[in-house]
Amino acid sequence: MDIKHNLSLVVALAIPVLMIVLVAGAIYLPRLWAPAPQYDFLYAVGSYPAYVVPEESKYIEHTYVVSGGRLTRQSRELAQNTLGLAYPLWRPDERQEPRFYVHDAATNTSRELTADEAGALHLEAEKESPDGFELVRGSASGGFPFFDDGGDYDTYYLRGHSVSRELNVKTGSSTFADGFTFIGWVIE
């Protein structure tokens, strides 16, 4: 092909290719010099921070809070309405006790902990980790007319230093009430 005579065609084909190269470069090049994340984090899957347990004729609400860098559980008895129901708006399957996981930043894997083990961790409940990473969800993208993969809203990423890394975390079901909840960065 004579490039001189087909300059506009060459430019026409080069522009989208250039955009692909630039987008790929903007995503992958920073990985060459970005530091690896150092801090593990604790998260919950289930009804966090509060869940309700029926006990005999009472309803007990347990609520987790991070206080003084530790995960603690507070409990209280709920008042009942005339029908004896504490949570008429919640479905029973949403009242599940949360399960705790610690995510290992080095191996990108999660390990389940008991509530007591989780309570023993020293946490920092800031949005950003001490080494400059934060946890974000994927986008709920729409699709071009040719396709629609529904986005990756249920995918979580560790983002910082111009780099994003997809995380292998347990997300539970996709409903808001019992999905993934970040609790804090593990300091020690």
Binding site: A12, I15, V136, S141, F146, D152, S164, E166
Partner: protein
């Protein structure tokens, strides 16, 4: 040196295959005779339209057949009915191309192949247990189709393959760029689509320009129209809306729209004139509603916007009458 008889025989043969058009032969003659080449519309005959309609109907029939009998067909039958049909249509088209009198009929089979192949690949992928909707799969499918139809174009130089290469290439561009940013969360997908439509529109216009002097000039009006609409539509959308407007795009948009309008004269393109005018009008309405309805009040803002639209309308009419209506246009 070829003889006159040999030349006419070659022209007859190439015309039968659809490899050379009447306008090209006339232009070649005029160049030799020292008469300036004229810009002529390449046209599709009624028979060709019927071939294409027939091809499209065959595709619809195949798709409905597979859909209605999906549960009765096993995996092999599903792939054979879709991907197999596409391959068969492509082979039949190639065989028919070698018969000068049937060269035009081959276009219908190429159309069937081009429409059915994506469906066939999707069915094959699905039966293989792969995720058809994922961007990675979409990229692979569109890449395979682009390569296949690109090779077919390389061998046969048929305009219909160019059309499919543009469609599959656009598909590949969007799926690859979506796949890449799958690892870039919290992306503003609307803006990302706008930038990609802008790039796509620019590419279409340039491809149309490169086709204008050649035998694929039939595609130029379509490429100019789709390209100008995508480019200007994306640029207008990128401007956003107050208070989240993008000053850069809002500022350069009038230049883009006016540039498109004035480019219609040297490029002899009514598509440029039409879309440039439509988007300039849209921009004036947008800016009026965005910035002036609170300061001037809606009624006065509407009056001014209306006067501006009348001005653009007259300018468009004048340019068309003065420069485009008097000579043949390309697009």
């Amino acid at each position: 040196m070829v003889t006159k008889e040999q030349l006419f025989s070659d022209i007859t043969s190439l015309a039968g295959q659809g490899a050379v058009g009447e306008a090209e032969v006339v232009d070649a003659f005029r160049r030799g005779a020292g008469v300036p080449a004229r810009a002529t519309h390449a046209r599709i005959s009624v028979a060709e339209v019927l071939y294409y309609v027939g091809g499209a109907i065959v595709f619809i029939g195949l798709a409905v057949l597979v859909y209605q009998n999906w549960d009765q067909l096993n995996a092999a039958a599903r792939v054979l009915a879709t991907l197999g049909s596409a391959a068969a249509a492509l082979v039949i088209g190639i065989l028919l191309t070698h018969y000068p009198k049937l060269g035009r009929v081959a276009q219908a089979f190429y159309l069937i192949a081009g429409l059915t192949a994506p469906l066939g690949l999707a069915v094959a992928w699905y039966e293989a247990g792969l995720e058809v909707e994922s961007y990675r799969t979409q990229s692979a499918m569109s890449g395979i189709l682009l390569l296949t139809f690109g090779l077919a174009w390389w061998q046969l130089r048929q305009a219909i393959f160019t059309v499919f290469c543009i469609i599959f290439g656009t598909w590949l561009f969007f799926s690859i760029t979506s796949w890449l940013v799958g690892e870039a969360p919290a992306l503003d997908w609307d803006e990302y689509y706008q930038y990609r439509f802008f790039v796509t529109g620019l590419s279409y216009v340039l491809i149309g320009y490169s086709f204008a002097p050649g035998r694929q000039r039939l595609l130029t009006p379509w490429l100019y129209s789709v390209g100008a609409a995508a480019l200007l539509g994306a640029a207008l959308a990128l401007g956003g809306w107050s208070p989240n407007q993008n000053i850069f795009w809002e500022t350069i948009f009038p230049g883009l729209a006016l540039g498109t309008i004035f480019l219609s004269i040297p490029m002899r393109s009514k598509a440029f004139l039409t879309f440039g005018s439509i988007f300039l009008m849209a921009y004036i309405l947008k800016i009026t509603a965005e910035y002036f309805k609170d300061t001037l009040g809606w009624p006065l803002a509407l009056v001014l916007a209306g006067l501006a639209l009348i001005g653009i309308g007259y300018g468009t009419f004048y340019l068309n009458k003065q420069y485009l209506a008097k000579q043949p246009t390309l697009a």
